[in-house]
């Protein structure tokens, strides 16, 4: 086993999902404890003997034995659902019942079921995402707090409340339910937010951001592989996540400095992921649905397929942004459109487009708004004005990489 391959996140997801189904969602914390314990012991034992090839199956077998122990220990407790209680009462029925609970066919949909359950409509989006991060991606409350620039106690409360709601719903979401389509929309939104956290995060640590994108990728691939969930929008979102994740290695140079798209070394982009993204984008094109995911994915696809920055099809990108604004007007999208327009028609046109953004006050605290104006003024040769805008952006910057980037741009403005 390679030294750098970590399987903690994906294996903890598999275990927590299966154990929650088996113990019942009201026993979620037992499921988490058993999963954590199984992983901890496995890692310690394998530190001496080496990681076995079939580690995933072995972890599930270890979990199954602990399930048997748990049922035997608390046979008479009333914590189990009635059907379960009946099954575990005698040793004769217990073993075969547990074996059946761990069959591949039963395990197969557990993670999806958990994902859909976390996206309960009564939970705020940020709670849904926090639950997914915690239960399906193995992030602790402290890590999630860091990502969201929140305090750990606040995040712990958010997660506990979410889990309490899950427990109170008494059943995991059934993938055959009537509201599957509606819930799928919520899952899309949660995975999009998860991916955005990774790609655009204000968080300092680039390692965590890469992990967030990779987790979003792992989870969206599960939707793609489950026929009823593999809709056109799923393909589009999956393509977007592939493109974004593919481009992550190029965003920073060896010195840890942020690079604009035009300056990135495109050879560092993940060619395999780009290919996967293009195939998914293709599949998303069937049918008449046109969502924001389709538009964002197509734009990302255009950027990603350009071998050099100069080869970018800016005219098409501007048209796509026009479509996007008609679909769902937003000042951030309008800003991105203005930057694309600047590439196509020059910085003066770009500045005019920025000035014309409606609801521009909503961008007041958005560092990229001031930074974009600064960039375009600089391209027009208006160094003093550019410096003012970039200074403003510096004041709004969210982490040290952004600050260093803006300081470099400010120094381009000269005295």
């Amino acid at each position: 086993m390679e030294a750098n391959v970590s399987f903690y996140r994906s294996e903890s997801a598999r275990l927590v999902a299966a154990l929650t189904r088996i113990f019942g969602v009201e026993n979620l914390s037992l499921a988490e404890d058993v999963a954590q314990d199984t992983l901890a012991k496995a890692f310690e034992v394998w530190s001496y003997g080496g990681v076995p090839e079939h580690y995933s199956a072995l972890l599930m077998v270890a979990a199954k034995n602990r399930v048997l122990d748990a049922f035997r220990r608390e046979r008479t407790a009333s914590k189990w659902a009635p059907e379960l209680q009946h099954m575990i009462e005698s040793e004769w029925t217990l073993r075969p019942a547990v074996e059946e609970l761990f069959l591949p066919a039963a395990l197969k949909d557990d993670e999806l079921r958990m994902m859909f359950s976390c996206c309960h409509p009564q939970l705020a989006e940020e709670v849904q995402v926090a639950l997914i991060l915690n239960l399906l991606c193995g992030f602790g409350a402290e890590e999630i707090a860091r990502i969201n620039l929140a305090s750990t106690p606040a995040m712990q409360k958010r997660i506990s409340r979410g889990k309490r709601s899950l427990g109170e719903s008494r059943r995991l979401f059934e993938l055959t339910a009537d509201d599957f389509a509606a819930r799928l929309g919520a899952v899309h939104r949660a995975l999009y937010l998860l991916f955005s956290e990774g790609y655009h995060s204000a968080c300092e640590e680039s390692v965590i951001r890469v992990e967030l994108c990779r987790e979003a990728l792992r989870l969206i691939r599960q939707l793609v592989d489950h026929a009823p969930a593999a809709t056109s929008a799923t393909y589009a979102l999956a393509a977007l996540i592939c493109f974004g994740t593919a481009r992550l290695p190029g965003r920073m140079n060896e010195l840890g400095e942020l690079l604009v798209l035009a300056d990135q070394d495109r050879s560092r982009w993940d060619a395999q992921l780009i290919s996967e993204g293009l195939a998914l984008l293709d599949r998303s094109a069937s049918g008449s649905e046109l969502s924001e995911y389709h538009l964002e994915a197509t734009i990302a696809g255009l950027h990603t397929s350009a071998r050099r920055a100069e080869d970018t099809h800016w005219a098409e990108i501007v048209e796509l942004y026009d479509l996007y604004l008609r679909l769902r007007p937003s000042p951030v999208v309008a800003l991105n459109r203005a930057m694309a327009l600047a590439e196509l028609e020059g910085p003066v046109k770009g500045l005019e487009a920025i000035a014309a953004i409606s609801e521009v006050e909503r961008l007041r605290d958005y560092p990229f708004y001031a930074a974009a104006r600064g960039e375009l003024e600089l391209r027009c040769g208006q160094r003093a004005v550019a410096r003012d805008h970039l200074q403003a952006a510096l004041g709004l910057a969210r982490n040290s990489a952004e600050r260093r980037f803006l300081r470099r741009r400010i120094s381009e403005c000269g005295d």
Partner: protein, 109 residues
């Protein structure tokens, strides 16, 4: 070459994530010891919560620990002398992770 026992001791319970990140580096450290002829017995990790302490007239619940540093595993090493054995222990990733390694020469005639 003489034999030495490493008793790995830790005073806190690491998270599964910490254990996973130690796993790769610990395996690499073991392999290097093995390749250089220093590993006599890999040893085993020990259950951190269950155990017994048997004394004359009494059996207590274990693990036994004078301080909070309970023994979490052991290995048997071959080294030239105690200094070398201690030096080799210093490079163990468990030490970097905050564990102690008690190094004891095996008693021979």
């Amino acid at each position: 070459m003489s034999q030495f026992v490493y008793l790995y001791r830790e005073s806190r319970t690491p998270t599964p994530k910490e254990l996973e990140s130690r796993m790769a580096s610990t395996l690499a450290w073991f392999r290097e010891l093995e390749q250089n002829g220093h590993l006599a017995v890999y040893g085993h990790p020990l259950n951190r919560t269950d155990g017994r302490v048997v004394k004359k007239g009494d059996v207590l619940d274990g693990p036994y620990a004078e301080t909070k540093d309970i023994v979490i595993g052991f290995s048997v090493i071959e080294a030239k002398d105690l200094d070398e054995a201690a030096r080799l222990a210093d490079s163990c990733p468990l030490v970097a992770a905050g564990c102690l390694i008690e190094v004891r020469p095996v008693l021979v005639l």
